[in-house]
Amino acid sequence: MGGTEAPRAIPAWRTALRWVAARVGGALLVVWLVATIVFFALRSSGDPLEAILGGPGSQAGPEAVEAARREYGLDQPLIVQYLLQLWRVGTLQLGDSYARRQPVADLIADQLPGTLLLAVLALALAWALAVAGAVVSTSARGRVGAVVNAVLRGVEVIATVMPGFWLGAVLILVFASTLGLLPATSQGSHPAGLVLPVVTLAVPIAGFLAQVSRDALLEADAAPFAVTARARGASEPAVLLRHTLRHAALPALALSGWAFGNLLSGAVVVEVLFARPGLGRLLQDAALARDVPLVIGAVTSVALMYVAVVVLTDIVELFVDPRLRGPRPAVLRAPDVAVGS
């Protein structure tokens, strides 16, 4: 580990506290922004009464409309409704969905695990593919290596720009319609249904992570520490495992928070395409129905998850990269605050 000592001026616990405070503050800011934007965006574009009365174009009788207005506090001034909504989010009492008439928290709790499973599996697959690509490109040397690298580079670019809905549709066409190997839908508990959606989500992310990690790996492979290790008689796999791979993983790791947020938003497309239950579809349906409490609840959960994952990747980075544990604590880096995803 590095030989320089951290300055004594700031005790470690205080930097840690500041680090935590900054994160919590950032998260709260995100939640407030999300709740506010969603509330006014949905209210400005339609009447939530429609959601309560069974969808737009409702021809419910006047008494039914009045009853619904009162029941959901829609007879209150807009600002009162907004503050009430903020209070609900603040106290984590997300209220009842207008359209589904069930507690928002229950609806989200029902759909969250499915989406998380999808995102986590896709991220894992993306990582596996990215690392495999990086290892292959450094293992092949000389002219063969140059060709392999060029091909991989091309594949990565194509993978990165591949639209999810298109890739998913092609996978369904090939593996479900034509070959009949896998189900076209991802419903029920059967694990086979997860394959196509996970691949659909993972491929673009894998392409992106691979581009970043392969360059880092090639750089590390030629770096003095790798050369020294080889000179001391370390085998190629040992160099890869102990030295270069760790180095190569860093930039990809830093991007994993972003990638996870990307997967959560990509889940909307994949869940609709593969008819898979999940938070993305719940959110889409709720937004179309102007179901204000449900949209705010779902978007807030996604935002919180995103913030949590970004924090988590920072922590993991501390473990992987000893340099970050030196005199410059991670807290001094720019805070990652993202709105929406």
Binding site: S58, P62, A128, P183, T185, A192, D285
Partner: protein, 558 residues
């Protein structure tokens, strides 16, 4: 075991190709894939015989209901699924005659204000509650209760003042105004009968599992995934379309698959037996393979473009006629719908016996269109291809609901935009989600619009074209998008409602449709598209009320 996909002809070939596939996939996914491989596949159904029992899988592309009780709200997705577990008082024959169902006889008084119904005495709801006059009373009151929040069903029973229980099998409706269409609207799934005990559980519980007299029972509902229905073994075959004993299939999985291509792939691979809302190209391809396609146009109104006659430029009948003469939708319908949609020249669906169809009103004539616009004072003064008058351009705002209009229909609108553009209209197609679309209509920010409307019977003309329909409901909704306000038409539509003489009714509706067609406010396109594709099953039949699929007679092919 789960039957997830159709095998290629021989199972070992399937496994071989599976092994070749494995290296391409990551290790984590491969483990899942192997687990999936263990599931058994089912045989190609073409030569198979019908079997008893089994699980029928239906995949809908319509929205997932937010409540399985069609009394609450009341939209088509609710009608689709509730056809399997709820039954209405009466049915309807293909030529429009009202048929006995849970009610065996009905009679209106001379003044049309009192209706006497005789009910079956051998029917029980699936929770054991008897079906009787008290149950009918409870249902009408449930529909009228503001807390139910009913819209379509509420419209059906709106004129019923009170329900009198005469005895267990006789019930009497007292109406505030005569309504000859009463039995027609009571045949709709949105006014179907439910167990009073079921409704008393409260809205939340009843929404999850309504209790009816139908051939199936709601067992469970996994949101965004499926509703599972199980067979009602004690089903009394009341259905007017004919049946004996309980249903053949034991179980129905009603799945929600929003993407049309995925739905089609699921059908082709044998994951599901029936799909609705297929794409026109998929219907054509399915038919080309000699597989079953059920064309079940919805009753009441046809799909049509309506021109807003309440504001410029369509407040001038010459401009409306010009638009209709220039639109020329036929080539578009033929190509975009692959022969699955037939051009309509009527405001009413082709399944409505009282429809008036007149091709001559809609004959394409671009030259005549240009003359009419010249006469009306709309000329292209600045040479940009768009006509002007008094500083205003000949602009037609056309909000398009992307939730209701299919891709083919949206393309058709684009062709109409181009055709009418050639004579100087500036048609602005505005794709938007359903809520925004209703918002645009409510704000009168439209000159042309295509709005579907499903009910049963020609009384839909009153809903769509009576001047009362220009007054918004409390929710902002109004149905008269053409904004027709014609006292003569109103009088006809009201008198049709007051007469119970079928011949007289038919005559009145002919006159009313004549007025509507001649107003050039409506450009009919085709029937409301309702198509089903099936594989591995026989006996799926649309109800002749609102064309929802009935799975009572369905049999899997083993």
């Amino acid at each position: 075991m789960a039957r997830y996909w159709t095998a290629s002809e021989n199972p070992s070939a399937r496994k071989r190709s599976l092994r070749r596939l494995l290296p391409a996939l990551a290790a984590g996914a491969a483990a899942l894939l192997l687990a999936g491989c263990a599931a058994d596949a089912f045989d190609a159904p073409s030569t198979a015989e019908p079997i008893e029992g089994g699980t029928l899988v239906y995949a809908t592309g319509d929205a997932e209901p937010t409540c399985l009780d069609p009394h609450v709200g009341g939209n088509y997705p609710q009608a689709l699924i509730s056809t399997q577990y709820l039954e209405p008082l009466v049915g309807r024959s293909p030529d429009g005659e009202i048929l006995p169902w849970l009610a065996t006889e009905w009679q209106a008084s001379e003044d049309g204000l009192t209706w006497d119904l005789t009910l079956r005495d051998d029917v029980t709801f699936t929770d054991g509650t008897p079906f009787d006059a008290e149950a009918v009373k409870a249902n009408i009151e449930h529909l009228q209760d503001p807390n139910t929040g009913s819209s379509t069903g509420w419209l059906a029973v709106q004129q019923i003042d009170s329900v009198e229980v005469v005895d267990a099998t006789h019930v009497r409706f007292h109406l505030s105004t005569p309504k000859s269409a009463l039995m027609e609207v009571l045949s709709q799934q949105w006014a179907a009968m439910q167990s009073p005990a079921g409704m008393e559980r409260g809205k939340d519980e009843n929404c999850l599992a309504p209790v009816g007299t139908g051939p199936f029972i709601v067992e469970s509902w996994t949101p965004q995934d499926r509703v599972v229905l199980i067979r009602n073994d004690d089903y009394v075959p009341t259905n007017p379309q004919g049946h004996d004993g309980p249903a053949y299939v034991e179980r129905i999985e009603w799945r929600f698959i929003p993407d049309a291509a995925t739905r089609q792939a699921a059908l082709a691979s044998g994951e599901v037996h029936v799909i609705d809302n297929p794409l026109p190209a998929d219907i054509a391809a399915w038919e080309a393979q000699d597989k079953q396609h059920i064309d079940a146009p919805r009753p009441a109104a046809s799909n049509r473009i309506e021109l807003n006659s309440a504001q410029t430029p369509f407040d001038d009948v010459r401009v409306r006629e010009a638009f209709i003469r220039a639109a020329d939708p036929n080539p578009g319908i033929a190509s975009l719908f692959h022969g699955t949609a037939e051009r309509s020249y009527s405001v009413l669906s082709s399944v409505e016996p009282m429809r008036l169809s007149d091709e001559s009103v809609f004959a394409t004539d671009a030259e005549r269109a240009a003359e009419l616009l010249d006469e009306a004072g709309w000329t292209d003064t600045d040479g940009d291809g768009v006509r002007e008058k008094d500083g205003a351009t000949l602009t037609v705002r056309f909000p398009v609901s992307t939730n209701q209009s299919t891709a083919a229909e949206q393309s058709l609108f684009e062709q109409i935009q181009a055709n009418t553009g050639a004579v100087g209209f500036d048609v602005q197609l505005e794709p938007m989600d359903l809520s925004s679309w209703y918002g645009a209509l409510a704000a009168h920010e439209y000159e042309a619009v295509s709005a579907p409307y499903t009910t049963v019977g020609p009384d839909v003309l009153r809903i769509l074209y009576h001047s009362d329909g220009t007054i918004p409901a409390p929710s902002g909704y109004f149905a008269n998008n053409a904004q027709l306000k014609d006292p003569a038409l109103d009088a006809l539509l009201e008198s049709a409602l007051a007469t119970t003489d079928e011949a007289e009714r038919a005559d009145i509706y002919t006159q009313a449709q004549r007025i509507i067609l001649d107003s050039y406010t409506v450009l009919p396109l085709y029937d409301q598209q309702n198509h089903f594709l099936t594989q591995g099953v026989e006996g799926v039949e649309p109800l002749t009320t609102i064309s929802t699929p009935l799975l009572l007679n369905a049999r899997l092919l083993g």
